[in-house]
Symmetry: C2
Subunit: 339 residues, 2 copies
DNA sequence: CACGCCGACTAGAACGTTCTAGAGTCGGGT
DNA sequence: ACCCGACTCTAGAACGTTCTAGTCGGCGTG
C-alpha cells in the first residue's frame, strides 16, 4: 500500500465536490459562509477521499500554530505524569502539544532546537538544566516557561512546587508523630535540593529543634540513599544517638536508604521513619509503601499552560512565578515515635 | 520581549546580504552552488538576524519531512527507555522524531490523529492496542510499524521481542537451578501475554515437566500479582504442594507477588524463586532486585527505524516481521532449589 | 422598478521555503 | 577570435492552505 500517489488535497476535494478551493476551506474549518447542502456535500467528499488537512500549509498561511512545545526527560517518571496533565490542560485551552525528549544521549540544547523548528508559540521546559542566560536568550524569541525550578530572570516564567514547604510538611508530620531527632538526606546541588534543605531547616527551627538539625550529604540515586544510611547508623549527628526519622531529597534515594536500613535489621517505621519526595510511581508499590511529598501534577500542568497561553496572547500577567502547594502522602514508612 | 515583529525570514537574510532568496536558500541548507565568500557573508547575516528556518514552509515545498512519528504510552516505563534508543537510531538514519503520547485520558486514536497532521513519513507505534483492521487502514496512507506486538496483516510491519523465547529463558534458568514445580502468572489478554504463556508451556514440556505446568490468571498490575500469590499459596496447582518457582507476566505484577510472599514469611529465593519480565527500572532497585527478562532496547529501536526508513524509501524488505532475541537478567530473586 | 443588502460563492494573493530553468561571467582549449 | 564548460547566481513557479476582496443572484423595501 502507501502508494506513490499524491495525498489528497483540498483542491481534490473541491474539484470532486464541484466548488472552489476557498469554499472547501471554509467548510473544512467550520467557518461561516457556506450553504447547508454544499457544506454536507463537501464534507461527504472529504470523508470519501480520506482528506486530511496539511497542518504545515495551514499554519504557514495563518501564522498561528496553536502549538505548545514541551521538553521533558525520559528518565524522570514524574515528567510522564506531568505530561498527562499537560495534554489535558493544553487541550482544553485549545492548543496542541508537541514533544521533544531529553535522553541520556540527547541533551537539552538539542531537544530545544528540535522544537524551535516546529514553530511552536511557547516553550515549556520540565526541570531545565540550561543556564539562566541561555533561557533568557531563548525568551527573546518566544515565551518560555520553566517548571520545577527557580529561574531569576524577568523574561522567564516559572511554575514550580513550593519545595521548601514540602520539606516542612514532612517535618511537621514527623514531629506530630513524636519525633525529634529528624535528619535530612539532601540532594547536593541538584535543582530543588537547596529549597528542600532550607525547608527542613526552617521547620526544625520552628519546632524548637534547632539542636537536632542534621543534614547528611546525599544525591538523586539509590546508591546515594544507601550511602547516607550507613552514615546515619554511625549516629554522627545526634551525639551518638541514631535519628528516629529521616526526610530524604527524593524517592529513589529514600528507597536505597530504606533497603539498607531493613537489611540491617531496622524496623521501618518501628525503629525509624522515612519520608521521601516526589511520589514516584514505585513509591506506591506495596513493597516500598513510602510516605512522601507529592507535587500536584494537575495544577502544575494547568498553571504552566495558562501562563504560556497568557504570554502568547499577550494577556497581562500578575506574577512571573507561580508556586504550587505540595501535598503529603502518608503511607507505611512513617509512624509514631516510641521512646 | 517576544515582540510582535515578524520573525526573520529567508527574504530578510537575502536582502540584508544582498543576494537572491534562492541563493540564501542554497547557503542555508548547505547545498552546492554558492561562492565561498558569499556563503560566509550569508551565514554571518543569518546568524546576526537570528534566522531560524521555518520547517513548515520548507517541508511544504520539498514534500519530504524526514519525520518519523512515534506513539508511546507515558505510563509504560519501558517506552521511555525505547524512546532513548529511538532518537539515536533515527538521528543516525537522518530522520527527525516527532512524539505523540497516549495518557490515561488521551487514547491511541487521538495520539495517532495528532501525528497524521504532522505529515510524518512513517508511523511507529509502541505496543499498539488498536485493532488490526484500523492499523491496516492507516497503512494505506503511510508505512506503519508496530512494536512489541504481533499483527497479522501484510501491510503492517512488526518489530518485537521473541516473548515466547523470553519465557523459555526464564524456565530454563529455573530448571537449571533445580526447580520443577514452576508456575506461571499470566497477563490474560494483554499484548504479549499469549506468547509468554505459550513459551512457558513449551519450555516446561521440553524439560519433561508437562505435569507441572500450572498457569495462574494474573494481569499487568501489582494487585494482579498479589492476588496470584494468594492463589499460589493455596497450592492448587501441584496437588497441594506449593510451587518452588514462578515466572510472571511482567515486573509490576511480580513486585506485587513478591510483596505478598515476603509478608507471609516466605523467603525469596530460599523458599521460592520469582522471575519477572521487562527489566523495568524499579526491578533494579536493590530492594526488589528482581531476576527478569530484558528486551533489547537498542536493537528494537534500531530495527524499527530501519524498517520504517526502508518502507519510506521503497527499499525491498526481506521479512515483514522482525523478532529480537530477549536476554535474561539474573538478580536476587532466583536461586537454587533446596529440596 | 430601482435600490441596497445579504448570503453563497470564487479568484487570486499570500505565507516562507525549495526547485527548475536559465542568465551571466570567467578561463582555457582550439 | 571563438566556443564551451564550469561556476555563481537569479527569476519565478510551486507546495497546500487561508484570507481578502470581491462577484453574482435574489429578495425585501420604498
Amino acid at each position: 500500500m502507501q502508494s506513490g500517489e499524491r495525498r489528497t488535497t483540498l483542491a481534490d476535494v473541491a474539484a470532486e465536490a464541484g466548488v472552489s478551493v476557498a469554499l472547501a476551506s471554509i467548510v473544512m474549518r467550520g467557518a461561516a459562509g457556506a450553504g447547508a447542502a454544499t457544506r454536507q456535500r463537501v464534507l461527504d467528499v472529504a470523508q470519501r477521499l480520506g482528506y486530511q488537512p496539511d497542518s504545515r500549509a495551514r499554519l504557514l498561511r495563518s501564522g498561528r500554530t496553536r502549538l505548545l512545545g514541551v521538553v521533558f526527560d525520559v528518565r524522570h517518571p514524574f515528567h510522564s505524569d506531568l505530561l498527562t496533565g499537560f495534554y489535558d490542560a493544553a487541550g482544553s485551552a485549545g492548543y496542541e502539544v508537541t514533544l521533544s525528549a531529553v535522553t541520556p544521549r540527547r541533551d537539552e540544547r538539542t531537544a530545544i532546537a528540535g522544537l524551535l523548528q516546529d514553530r511552536c508559540e511557547a516553550l515549556v521546559l520540565f526541570s531545565p538544566r540550561s543556564r539562566t542566560a541561555d533561557l533568557a536568550t531563548l525568551s527573546a524569541r518566544m515565551p518560555v516557561v520553566a517548571m520545577m525550578r527557580t529561574i531569576r530572570h524577568r523574561d522567564v516564567d516559572v511554575v514550580r512546587t513550593d519545595d521548601a514547604r514540602g520539606s516542612e510538611l514532612a517535618v511537621d508530620h514527623l514531629v506530630g508523630l513524636g519525633h525529634r531527632r529528624i535528619a535530612h538526606v539532601d540532594g547536593g546541588t541538584l535543582p530543588g535540593a537547596a529549597e528542600r534543605r532550607h525547608g527542613y531547616q526552617a521547620a526544625m527551627r520552628r519546632h524548637g529543634l534547632t539542636d537536632f538539625v542534621h543534614v547528611v550529604p546525599g544525591g538523586s540515586g539509590e546508591e546515594d540513599g544507601a550511602r547516607a544510611a550507613a552514615a546515619l547508623r554511625s549516629g554522627a549527628g545526634f551525639g551518638g544517638a541514631a535519628p528516629t526519622a529521616v526526610t530524604v531529597f527524593n524517592d529513589l534515594s529514600a528507597a536505597g536508604l530504606l533497603d539498607v536500613l531493613r537489611r540491617n535489621g531496622f524496623d521501618v517505621p518501628g525503629d525509624i521513619s522515612v519520608v521521601g519526595y516526589d511520589d514516584s510511581s514505585f513509591s506506591r508499590l506495596s513493597h516500598i509503601d513510602l510516605t512522601t511529598v507529592a507535587q500536584d501534577v494537575e495544577v502544575l500542568a494547568g498553571e504552566a499552560v495558562r501562563r504560556a497561553v497568557q504570554r502568547i496572547e499577550r494577556t497581562p500577567v500578575e506574577h512571573r512565578e507561580v508556586v504550587i502547594e505540595p501535598r503529603l502522602v502518608v503511607r507505611g514508612t512513617s509512624g509514631h515515635h516510641v521512646s
